[in-house]
């Protein structure tokens, strides 16, 4: 439990204020464990739990289907990081845009995409959210303003900045959440995008989901700067570190950031500290991490922590939680059945969606 205590201490270093000057000094960094807890209502807590439990169960079904070779290719699950999706859902508006990387199933589900269309996509079926064209790494939904699902590390950082640019250009008050992993934070594209976003005061919320490892490389081995929120300071971008194992902390930080951004003050950067319980992808055994470390993080499993809080603080009854769980489990069984029974795409669809021009003359021999 000592390691768990250390971890909790290290990830619960949430800064409170939005000003960059405040974050630029370590000495001013508050170490209080989220003292300023707002009172959230029952619906909010149940919403967080449902979102997290849905993602957890979806990913468990994903791993099972992958083991049975129903799902192929690269596959990166979100298990352990669910609190970020849950806190983000409650703190954002549904018309805000989101773009992320390839560890995206959980984010897609939290944005409102259905378990059925997502599972069918993993199965490569015609009924998938992108007709079996994207698979695990590339979900998209124009309806839910989910811009993908990017497979090239860091590519979505400037793209999300551009999505935000378009909102400012059109004069809306929508923002774009641009998510990436700790590995992507070392790509040059981040520095170019951050500079332009701050210069032009674009409505973009950058979130680095720092799960500690870029594939097999720990954050410590990728940079002299391990407190990733500090990357924002050279751009004078307001930046905070956030406990990503608790949807409430995530919600509060994103709500604060969104308010700042919608006020026209430009970008905001959150380093959300989290952990992935599984390997980088299904083919990665994760031998670079100690069993003790994984176990210590299991002690603060966000799904269990929030369930416990709901029960202990009598926010909802155990029966209500069980009913919610049964509903989600049924939803997952239905999603898998839907994916299993859906037809494969038609081979001729290889020649659709490459150009908007419908009669584009492909070179066919």
């Amino acid at each position: 439990m000592d390691l768990t205590t250390d971890i909790l201490d290290s990830i619960v270093t949430t800064n409170a204020g939005p000003s960059s000057e405040q974050q630029s000094s370590d000495s001013k960094k508050s170490k209080s464990k989220a003292k300023s807890k707002e009172k959230f209502d029952k619906a909010m807590y149940l919403n967080w739990f449902e979102t997290m439990f849905r993602i957890r169960k979806f990913e468990e079904k994903t791993l099972e289907a992958y083991g049975n070779q129903k799902i192929r290719g690269f596959c990166h699950v979100y298990i352990g990081q669910e609190a970020i999706a849950a806190g983000m859902l409650s703190a954002l508006r549904t018309d805000d845009a989101v773009v992320t990387a390839y560890r995206q199933h959980g984010i897609a589900l939290s944005r409102g995409m259905s378990s059925k269309e997502c599972m069918a996509e993993l199965y490569g079926k015609a009924t998938g959210c992108v007709k079996g064209k994207g698979g695990s790494m590339h979900f998209f939904s124009a309806e839910h303003r989910f811009f993908g699902g990017n497979g090239i590390v860091g590519a979505q950082i400037p793209i999300g900045t551009g999505i935000a640019f378009a909102e400012k250009y059109r004069g809306t008050d929508k923002l774009c959440v641009t998510m990436f992993g700790d590995g992507a934070a070392r790509q040059g594209a981040l520095y170019e995008a951050y500079n332009m976003a701050m210069t032009w005061k674009l409505p973009v919320l950058y979130i680095v989901e720092n799960n500690g490892y870029a594939m097999g490389t720990s954050v410590e081995r990728t940079s002299n700067v391990v407190d990733m929120y500090k990357i924002g300071s050279s751009f004078d971008m307001p930046s905070e570190a956030v406990n990503g194992m608790d949807p409430q902390s995530v919600h509060e930080a994103i709500a604060r950031a969104a308010e700042h951004i919608r006020a026209g003050k430009g970008p905001y950067f959150l380093e959300i500290k989290t952990y992935r319980y599984k390997g980088h992808s299904v083919s990665d055994p994760g031998n670079y991490r100690s069993k003790e470390e994984v176990k210590a993080y299991m002690e603060i499993d966000p799904v269990k922590v929030i369930e416990k809080r709901i029960i202990e603080q009598k926010i909802a009854s155990e029966t209500e939680i069980e009913e919610l769980k049964d509903k989600i489990k049924l939803e997952m069984d239905e999603a898998v059945a839907f994916a299993e029974s859906s037809p494969l795409p038609d081979a001729s669809w290889l020649y659709t969606d490459n150009y908007v021009q419908e009669d584009y003359p492909y070179m066919k021999d």
Partner: protein, 328 residues
């Protein structure tokens, strides 16, 4: 004596031997050291050579490719591994604008003896961004040499040549073929860059291919043999410079050619070969050169798309029958 080695181990032997031979050679890339390489090509190399010569980088392809170029300009011989050539697209500025042009810009004062290596091409259901080939892209650029291999013995001999080469070499491998085995000679040898290999002799048609599509070409040749058609199969091995002498020599014998190329059809390896053949063997051709490429589209994830997209023996047999004017 020869041994049976997997492609990944043949590549590793080449790197190890060259690093023992020349202290200026080092390996750099994502997960090459502590993780033993994303595809285990560099397994055990950190242990032998230490962290100064087997270097894990952050995910920063443009940056570490550029660091490789600078180190090469200043007297070292870097081997830069890309986890896949798809990620090397971020580094194309350094490969195309710098590695390829340094010698020209400096009027011969600075050369760039660097090897950029990693897997190219599709590797199952990996979807649009992880399934591309890069032989045609980089083969288009003067200043670069481009090697694309599948045979373990070639891989070892050509990688050793690439490391010793005084010009930048882009070296294309295959995720799928890393586990494929082949005979590798014992002892010291190199294989020259720029020379194709005749893998199977034949008299009726020449099938040209490279990298993992060689298996498709050879399978097609087997299938054709059962129907009494004798196919000669050539492994290009090097894309740039292109060994058109070997191709022309073969076509003068067979009078027909089919190119099996995982690249997209337009402006690529297959187009270039067809040009060279019509220029140097026009009077020997009994049929137009045909090609079997990947589809002229992005590749989706579902197995249905993958099967439709890639060249396969059936498509090659059909093309061969077409150039032979035999009914399919």
């Amino acid at each position: 004596m020869a041994r049976i080695l997997k492609l990944r181990d043949a590549l590793k032997e080449a790197m190890i031997e060259e690093m023992r031979r020349d202290a200026s050679v080092f390996l750099m890339g994502e997960e090459v050291a502590q993780y033993d390489g994303a595809y285990k090509v560099s397994k055990g190399m950190l242990e032998e050579f230490g962290p100064m010569r087997v270097i894990d980088t952050p995910i920063a392809e443009l940056g570490f490719a550029g660091i490789g170029v600078g180190a090469a300009m200043n007297g070292l011989r870097p081997i830069v591994e890309f986890m896949t050539w798809n990620f090397a697209v971020l580094a194309f500025d350094q490969i195309v604008n710098n590695a390829a042009k340094t010698l020209s810009q400096s009027a011969g004062q600075f050369n760039c003896p660097i090897v950029f290596r990693g897997p190219s091409g599709s590797a199952g259901q990996l979807a649009q961004q992880h399934s591309q080939t890069f032989e045609s892209w980089l083969g288009n650029c003067p200043g670069l040499k481009v090697v694309s291999i599948v045979d373990p013995a070639d891989a070892k001999g050509l990688l050793k040549s690439a490391i010793r080469d005084n010009d930048p070499v882009c070296f294309m491998e295959s995720e799928i073929a890393y586990a494929w085995e082949g005979e590798v000679p014992d002892g010291e040898y190199t294989t020259p860059i720029g020379v194709a290999a005749v893998r199977r002799e034949g008299t009726d048609v020449t099938i040209v291919s490279y990298n993992k599509m060689m298996r498709v070409a050879l399978q097609a040749a087997d299938d054709l043999a059962k129907e009494g058609i004798s196919a000669e199969v050539i492994d290009l091995r090097t894309i740039r410079p292109l060994d058109y002498h070997t191709l022309v020599k073969s076509v003068k014998k067979t009078n027909r050619m089919v190119v099996v190329d995982e690249s997209w059809p337009m402006f690529g390896v297959s187009s270039e070969i067809a040009y060279e053949i019509q220029k140097y063997a026009f009077d020997y051709l009994d049929a137009p050169v045909l090609r079997v490429n990947s589809a002229d589209t992005s590749l989706g994830y579902s197995s249905v798309y993958v099967n439709e997209y890639l060249p396969n023996p059936e498509k090659v047999v059909k093309a061969v029958k077409s150039v032979m004017y035999v009914k399919a």
